[in-house]
Subunit: 295 residues, 2 copies
């Protein structure tokens, strides 16, 4: 959360972006962004909207308002670039439906932590199938601009007057990819509702298995917890993140006796295959291949 105002300023300064930005996050995010951008007097080159997820009562610890009462509302003026956002309530299954268009659907679930925390599920919509060379040939179509039209979902009329619809010469649609990105958590069991067969699950693993009690006490997970979840959900790849500073990243200058994130990776590999476990590092990027059609 602390990096968000800087990210928005960077996007504005360097990318010459003018498209509106829609931000989703827990109640209080609108106030944080407004105060941060106001006090730094940051004007953006685009408008932005904050949609706040209203938390479940059960997400708050019992002493939430007793020990430290914090005002999460943003009752005063909008930022000059801010457009009114919405408050998003969970549905009857405790799922927050954030966004949906013809390309993807984004949902959120709650995670157990010392403060309200969320996991986000990004489900790509099914993609159109590939052109089928056998079917194309059978209909008398040769490689050329008609292929491009059909790929775009447009009909093609042959010189004979015959009309070919894309679905007649295409293979079956390909399933969309699913990416799950989880926040701080010591219990991610809500993910059993939406996380099955994810291509990538990004999950925290703050402390090693032997320190599970300490992890749970602080609202965090171990590699054993994350990999058990990934295995049960039949996730293709688990990306471990949010490591305690006691584990040096592999990119660091490592001396003998240092504990590294490799230890956490090996613990996850007690349940998952080697190629299923990725240890996140700053600026890492991960390619998620397109899926083949199920025939």
């Amino acid at each position: 959360m602390f990096g968000l105002p800087g990210l928005m300023c960077t996007i504005s300064q360097n990318n010459q972006r003018t498209d509106p930005v829609e931000v989703y996050g827990p109640v209080g995010l609108r106030k944080f962004l407004r105060v941060s951008l106001e006090l730094s007097r940051s004007l953006l080159g685009f408008s932005y909207t904050v949609h706040e997820l209203e938390c479940l009562t059960s997400q708050y610890p019992d002493d939430w308002n007793k020990r430290w009462k914090v005002d999460h509302s943003s009752s005063y003026q909008c930022h000059p670039n801010e457009k009114n956002g919405t408050t998003l309530k969970p549905d009857q299954n405790s799922i927050w439906n954030l966004f949906s268009d013809d390309k993807m659907q984004v949902s959120a679930i709650w995670l157990k932590h010392r403060i309200p925390s969320f996991g986000f599920i990004i489900q790509e919509k099914p993609l159109p199938g590939k052109l089928d060379p056998v079917k194309l040939k059978a209909r008398g179509l040769k490689p050329g601009p008609e292929y491009g039209k059909l790929k775009q979902g447009l009909c093609v009329t042959l010189p004979s007057g015959e009309v070919i619809k894309p679905e007649e010469v295409m293979g079956p649609p390909r399933p969309g990819r699913k990416v799950v990105i989880m926040g701080d958590s010591c219990d991610s069991s809500e993910l059993y509702k939406l996380g099955h067969d994810a291509d990538v699950l990004v999950h925290e693993a703050t402390l090693e298995n032997d320190l599970k009690d300490s992890a749970l006490e602080k609202g965090h997970s171990t590699p054993g917890m994350a990999s058990k979840l990934a295995s049960e959900l039949k996730v293709k790849q688990l990306v471990l993140t949010h490591f305690s500073q006691r584990y040096k990243p592999m990119s660091a200058d490592i001396k003998e006796g240092d504990e590294t994130v490799k230890k956490l990776r090996l613990e996850a590999m007690e349940i998952l295959r080697d190629d299923q476990v990725v240890v996140a590092d700053d600026f890492m990027s991960l390619n998620i291949p397109m899926k083949s059609a199920i025939s």
Copy 2:
């Protein structure tokens, strides 16, 4: 400023620090830190205090409150770890005297920018001289624990009853080092009051010399402006920073035709020597050698 709450959380979580932290910055910083730490419900392992620099009227642009009225005050409850801070006004020379102890003195000056901005001058106090072997020998002192006592500034009594004071066997005190760290600026002329003979001057150079008009319009500097200042103040080393994203850092993957920060470095070298110009990069550290005594 955006990185400050995260830095404080990191210090608290990883360093087991319990000493109080004193933060100095422009009016509004107390509110920013309070709101950021509150909304993230971050409790720290130490207490902290924010001392706010009250800006000069001349630091505000004419339309400061007309275009966008921002409330910089923090009128509601303190953060649980927060101790009351002070408001620091400039003295009759427009210098903010922030801090002074037996080791260093920290002052601030104002810089011209589109919003209030400051430069900070850290002046190390003179360091005690080195033990003089000729003087030590003349007084009949041989290497041993007495040397340590004298180094610590303590008197030593010889078996004869003769008392030797540290200043009697030490060379002259060594001048302290001076480090100047400047914020965003398109006019740093206030530094002529305090910046002479600095060991290091960290100054922004957002855009190249040919884009000076654009730099000035946005409240920023060029390498030519920064190096002229450094040269006139007889600064030993100039560290350029705050580059526009159009210049790739030298650590990046550089392709033919890319503009890099090297261009900015070369422009500063039109006025300064090669070894006087340093281009800042993320996580860079710079050694500032101790000074010899002036004999």
